[in-house]
Subunit: 626 residues, 2 copies
C-alpha cells in the first residue's frame, strides 16, 4: 500500500561528458529496495555489466543514503557506496557515516549515480540543484584531510561536506577506500574506482529539508525507537563511552581475536597494550555523526614516542585487529598513528593490515626475504615496517606495490605456496573474527555478496549474545547456522544498510524488533507501508539480486568458501582451542543456508521460483534459469 | 584633528579568574599608535614590567589587527601579536595574515589583551560580545591542524577562525610560534607564552561590520591605493604567481643567500633544487588572506620520495633559507615537508632551521658528537636528521631539547666555544639575508627592537632596489645606513605593522607614498587626520617606546650588535665575496643611526627631549632620564 508523500530523486552524474541529470526515483524501486545499499545493488545490477573490468569507465559508483537519513530519526546519517569491486570482482558495497550522507539528502538526492570517466582529475561540486565539474588538479596527490580543506577553501565554503580519495585511490590500490572527513567507506577498494574515474572528490552543500509523508505515524515510530535506545542498558552507558575499541578484549575472551595472520589466535591477546586504561588515557573526546546522540566514535591521540600527538577517529575494533593483532604490533600508539595514516592515504585499514600481516608471515617463514621487501625487516611486531609499507601501498612502491592489490593477487604474484597464507574470501581480507570459533560468522563470510565482510550478516547471536527471534545458539556448533546467517544477512540489509541506520543500533538495541521498527518508520517517512515480513523480504531481495550479479560475474558455489588455514589448522590456544571449519562443516552449513534461501543446494544459486517470488523474474530471465 | 566616527574597542581576557571586559580604546592611543603593533607595544610598555620572566603569568599577549583590517582596503587582514619574548627578553612582536585578524574585527575588537594564566589547558571562545573559557584538555597535545578542527567540531561551527599553538608551544619551546590555519605569527617564541598561560587557542566568530568614519575620503584613498596596485609592474604579474619562494635565486644572485650556518654564503646556491621549474612543478594553487586580490601564498605539494603528497602553504623564502640553505638540505620536497611539520608542531621555521644548522656545524666541527645527538648523524644536508630534530624540538626530547631554546641559550649550554657559531642578535636567529652583503639590513638587525628581525626595517632599497624618498644606495657601503634604517623602521611600523597592511605592498608598490596613503586611509576609516610626517612619527614613537621597554629589560648599546662570524669572517664566495661588517663598520653605522634617531650616541638610547617630542614624557620619567 502507498499512502502518498514520497518524492525520491536520483542525480545521475556523467564524468565523460560532464553532464548531470535529475531523475525521479520510481516508487517501485523505493518500495522494493528501501534505499541505501538496496538502491545501490538495484542500480548496479540493472546498469552495469557484471563481467566488466571494475576500472572500466562503464563501472558505476552509486552513493545512496537511505530514506531515514536527514530526518530526525537518530543514527541515520549513513550511506552506501556501491560499484563493482576491483578487489573482489563481486558487488562492492561499503557504508559510511558522518555528515556527507545527510548533506546529500539536504541537497535533494536519494542517490548519486556516478558514471563514465573524466579526462583529467576532477571533482564534482553539488550545491542543491546546481552541479559543476571542476578541475581537481590542485587536489590530486593530496592526502585526504588536506584535499578536503583545499577544496573547501577553493569553493569558499567551510560547511561543505565531501567524499574524496587519497593517493591510494589515485594510484588504483585495490584496497583504497573513500573518505569523508575522517570516516571511511572502507572496504572492497571502491576508492580505486573513484581513482579510475579521475574523480578526486564529490563536494556537497544542501539547504533543503526532508519531507515526512505521515507526521503522526513518524512521531510515534520515532518515539518507540528513541525509547528503546534510552532503555538499553548497553548503549548510552557503556557503548557510547568506549565505542568498538575494546573489542580486542572481548574477542580475546571468546578466543576469536585473530593474530599474526591467524596463526596466533588465542595466544597474542594484547590485553595490557590495547586495554581499558591505555585506551582511556588516549581518548580525548568523541565525534558524532549527524543527528547521533550516542557518539561512539572515540577521538584518540597517541601519547608516546614518534607517534605522540597523532590524532585519529578510532581506532575502531577492526583496525585494532588489523593494524595491531594481525601484524603483531602491540604498541597502541603505533596503531593510532597507522589508523590515521591509512585515513590520510585513503587505505582500508582492514585489508591493508591483513595484507601486511600476510607479508610478515611470508617473511618469517622465509618465503620472501629482504631482497623482496627492499631491505625492510618485515617481522611480526615491527611497527616501523608497518608504517613504511602503508605508505608504499598507497604509492605503489617497493613491496607495497605487491600487497596493495590485496592478499589474493599478492599471493598469485609471489607464488611459492604463499596462497596457503592468504586470508581472504573472494579476495576480501578477513576482518577481526577468527571464524573457527564463530561458525555463523564463518558461514556469513563464505556467502556474503561482497566476500569476507563481517557487516553484511554479522553473527550478533554468536559474538554479542544478542537476543533475536532465532533463539539461543552455540557458536562452536555448525547446527542452524544457515538459518541464523540468512536472518542476519536479510535483516541487516533491510533494516540497516538500506534505510540507512547505524548497524550498532541493530547489534545493541533493536535486533528483536528491527523489522517492525523499520516498517513503522518507512510508513512515517515515505508513506510506503510494509509488514515486518515484507521488510525482511526486502533484505532477501537485495541478497538475491546481489548474488545474481556475482553469478553473472562468474562466481560459483566453489567460491563460497573460507581460507585454507581456517579449514585445516585448528586454533592453537585459548577458549576456542581446537576449533576449525572443515570442508565437511562448511558444506553442511552451506547446504542448510542454500536450502533456507530457497536456492538450488547443488549450485548454491537462486531458483526462478525464488526470484519470481521476490519480484525479480527479469533476473531469472537474465540468468537463463528454467 | 579628529573628525569623529571612531569607536575602538579592546577585549581584556583574564585567564586566571576567567573573566573578560570590553573597554573603550582611548582616542589618544588610536591617534598616537594607529593599531596593530603600535597598540601592542603601547599596552605592553604600559602594563607589563619589562624585567619580568616571559613565562610569568603577568606577561601579556596582545592580539591586534589594525584599523584597516576588515574594511574593503585590500591586503589588510593582518594582526600583530605582542608580548615579552621568551627567546630574546625584548619586546616580542610578530605579525600574521590569514582570516583570523578580520574575524576579530567583525567580532568587534581592535585588540585582545590576554592576561594571567589558566589553571588547566583552556581555549577562549569569542562570539561577538560573548566570551567563554572552555577546557582545552581535548585539544592539548594536538598538532595545529587537528587542534583547529577538533575545536571547530566541538563548537559545531566550521566558520570559526582561530589562533592556536602546537606541541612546541605547550612544551615551552622558545622558538614556538602561533598558528592560524596554516599561517604563523612566527618569531620570538610567542607560542610558548600561550603555552605558559595554558592557552591552547583563541577561537573567534564575528558577524559585525567595520564602521567607516568618512566614506567619501575612504573611497578616494582606497581608489589611489588599488590603482597603484593595479599599475605596479611587479605585483599581479610577477609576485602573485611566485610569492617569496624564488628568493633563494635572487638572494643568491646578490651573493647574500646564507648557507650552512653562514659558512657557505655564495657557495651553496641551490639554483636547480629550489629554482623556478622545481617550484612550479610543486605549486598546486594559491591561498588568499581575507580581502586580498593578490594571493601570494603558494600552495605546494612535495612530489618525491617519502615526502610525496605533503602539502604546505609556502615554503616562503625565509623557510627555503632556514630549512634549506642553512641546513644544507637541497631536497626541495624535504623543505616542503619540514615547513609543514613546523606548522603542525607550532615551530618557527626560521629559528628552528637556523638552530639545526647551528647544530650541524658543531657536529661537523667535532664540537659535539653522536653521543650528544643521541646517534643522529647531524651533517649538513641530512634531511632525515632535520625532520627528527624538528620533532624533538617540539617535544623537548634528545638534542632537540637543547636547540629548542634557540642558538644563544643552546650555545651557553653546550659551551666549548660554540658561542662563536651561534648566529643571532639578542637571541633571535638571523633570517635569510647575509647582512655582510647588505649593510642596512645588518644595521636593522642590530637595532630592531626584537633582535634580528628582517621585517621590522627591511632594507628594501638594498635588497629589492625599491625606489624610496631616500634616494640611491650602495648596499655594500656603510654610508647613510643610519638614515636608511631609521626610515625603514619607522615607515614599516607606521604604514604596515600598525594599520595593519601587508608588508609586501610596501616592498613592491607603495614605499614612495606609504605615509601619504596611510594618512588618507586613516582619515577615511577612523576620522583621525594625519600629515604624512605625522604618520612617520607614529613609527618613530613605536620604535622609541619599544626601545624604552628593552632598556628597562636591561639591554644596552652593547647588545646592538651582530654575530661574531659576520663581523670577523668575510663572505668566501659569490658577488659579495670579501664582505663583512667589522666592529668599526658597525659602530660607524650605529653612531649615525642613533644620531638620526635623536638618541644619545654613546649609550644608544632615547633622550628626554626626543621622548617628549613624541609625547612620551612619562617614559622619560620611567627611565629616569634627565
Amino acid at each position: 500500500m502507498y499512502k502518498g508523500g514520497y518524492t525520491g530523486k536520483i542525480l545521475r552524474i556523467n564524468l565523460t561528458d560532464q553532464t548531470s541529470k535529475k531523475e525521479d526515483l520510481s516508487l517501485e524501486t523505493a518500495k522494493d529496495f528501501i534505499g541505501g545499499a538496496g538502491f545501490g545493488i538495484k542500480y548496479l545490477y540493472d546498469e552495469v555489466k557484471a563481467d566488466i573490468d571494475p576500472f572500466d569507465s562503464d563501472n558505476k559508483l552509486i552513493f545512496a543514503p537511505g530514506p531515514f537519513s536527514g530526518t530526525s530519526v537518530p543514527c541515520a546519517s549513513r550511506m552506501s557506496v556501491t560499484g563493482k569491486s576491483p578487489l573482489t570482482g563481486t558487488v562492492g558495497m561499503a557504508l559510511s557515516g558522518g555528515h556527507f550522507p545527510v548533506e546529500m539528502k539536504f541537497a535533494g538526492y536519494d542517490a548519486l549515480i556516478v558514471e563514465g570517466k573524466a579526462e583529467e582529475p576532477t571533482y564534482v561540486w553539488i550545491k542543491n540543484g546546481d552541479v559543476k565539474f571542476r578541475s581537481a588538479k590542485k587536489a590530486w596527490g593530496l592526502k585526504t584531510t588536506d584535499a578536503q580543506q583545499v577544496i573547501k577553501n577553493e569553493l569558499k565554503d567551510q560547511n561543505i561536506r565531501m567524499v574524496c580519495i587519497g593517493p591510494a585511490g589515485e594510484n588504483l590500490s585495490k584496497v583504497a577506500c573513500i573518505i569523508n572527513e575522517m570516516r571511511a567507506a572502507g572496504r572492497k577498494g571502491l576508492g580505486a574506482v573513484m581513482g579510475a574515474k579521475n574523480l578526486k572528490a564529490v563536494a556537497v552543500r544542501g539547504t533543503g529539508k526532508i519531507a515526512i509523508a505521515d507526521k503522526e505515524k513518524f512521531k510515534v515510530a520515532k518515539g518507540v525507537f528513541t525509547k528503546a535506545m534510552k532503555d538499553s542498558p548497553g548503549l548510552y552507558k557503556k557503548f557510547a563511552h568506549v565505542g568498538t575499541g575494546l573489542g580486542a578484549l572481548s574477542m580475546s575472551s571468546k578466543g576469536i581475536y585473530p593474530a599474526k595472520n591467524f596463526t596466533a589466535t588465542g595466544e597474542f591477546t594484547p590485553m595490557e597494550e590495547f586495554g581499558v586504561d591505555v585506551q582511556k588515557e588516549r581518548t580525548i573526546g568523541r565525534e558524532y555523526c549527524y543527528g547521533c546522540p550516542v557518539g561512539c566514535s572515540q577521538l584518540k591521540m597517541a601519547k608516546t614516542g614518534v607517534y605522540a600527538g597523532t590524532m585519529t577517529e578510532g581506532p575502531e575494533y577492526e583496525t585494532t585487529f588489523s593494524l595491531g593483532g594481525q601484524t603483531g604490533v602491540s604498541n597502541y600508539d603505533a596503531v593510532i598513528a597507522a589508523d590515521r595514516l591509512c585515513d590520510e592515504l585513503g587505505l582500508d585499514t582492514v585489508s591493508a593490515g591483513v595484507a601486511i600481516g600476510f607479508g610478515m608471515e611470508l617473511f618469517e617463514k622465509g618465503i620472501i626475504s629482504k631482497e623482496d621487501t627492499g631491505g625492510i625487516d618485515l617481522k611480526f611486531g615491527n611497527d616501523e615496517a608497518m608504517m613504511i609499507l602503508l605508505r608504499q601501498m598507497a604509492y605503489r612502491e617497493g613491496f607495497g606495490d605487491i600487497l596493495t592489490d590485496g592478499v589474493k593477487v599478492a599471493a598469485e604474484k609471489i607464488g611459492k605456496g604463499s596462497e596457503d597464507y592468504a586470508i581472504h574470501v573472494k579476495g576480501l581480507e578477513l576482518p577481526g573474527y577468527d571464524v573457527r570459533g564463530s561458525k555463523a560468522q564463518g558461514l556469513n563470510y563464505a556467502t556474503s555478496y561482497t566476500g569476507a565482510d563481517h557487516n553484511r550478516g554479522y553473527a550478533i547471536q554468536e559474538i554479542k549474545a544478542m537476543e533475536v527471534p532465532i533463539g539461543d545458539v552455540d557458536r562452536l556448533s555448525i547446527e542452524r547456522k544457515g538459518e541464523l546467517t540468512v536472518w542476519n544477512q536479510d535483516v541487516r540489509a533491510a533494516t540497516c544498510d538500506s534505510p540507512t541506520m547505524c548497524a550498532f543500533l541493530l547489534d545493541i538495541v533493536m535486533a528483536p524488533t528491527a523489522t517492525q521498527n523499520t516498517a513503522d518508520l518507512m510508513e512515517g517517512v515515505t508513506g510506503l507501508t510494509y509488514t515486518p515480513e515484507e521488510v525482511q523480504q526486502v533484505g532477501e531481495r537485495i541478497n538475491n539480486l546481489a548474488k545474481a550479479f556475482n553469478m553473472k560475474a562468474g562466481f560459483t558455489r566453489a567460491d563460497d568458501t573460507l581460507p585454507k588455514r581456517l579449514m585445516t589448522e585448528p586454533i592453537k590456544a585459548g577458549v576456542a582451542k581446537g576449533q576449525k571449519v572443515s570442508q565437511e562443516d562448511l558444506d553442511y552449513m552451506l547446504n542448510e543456508y542454500y536450502r533456507i534461501r530457497g536456492w538450488d543446494e547443488k549450485t548454491g544459486t537462486p531458483t526462478r521460483e525464488k526470484l519470481t517470488e521476490l519480484g525479480l523474474e527479469y533476473v531469472a530471465d537474465d540468468l537463463g534459469l528454467k
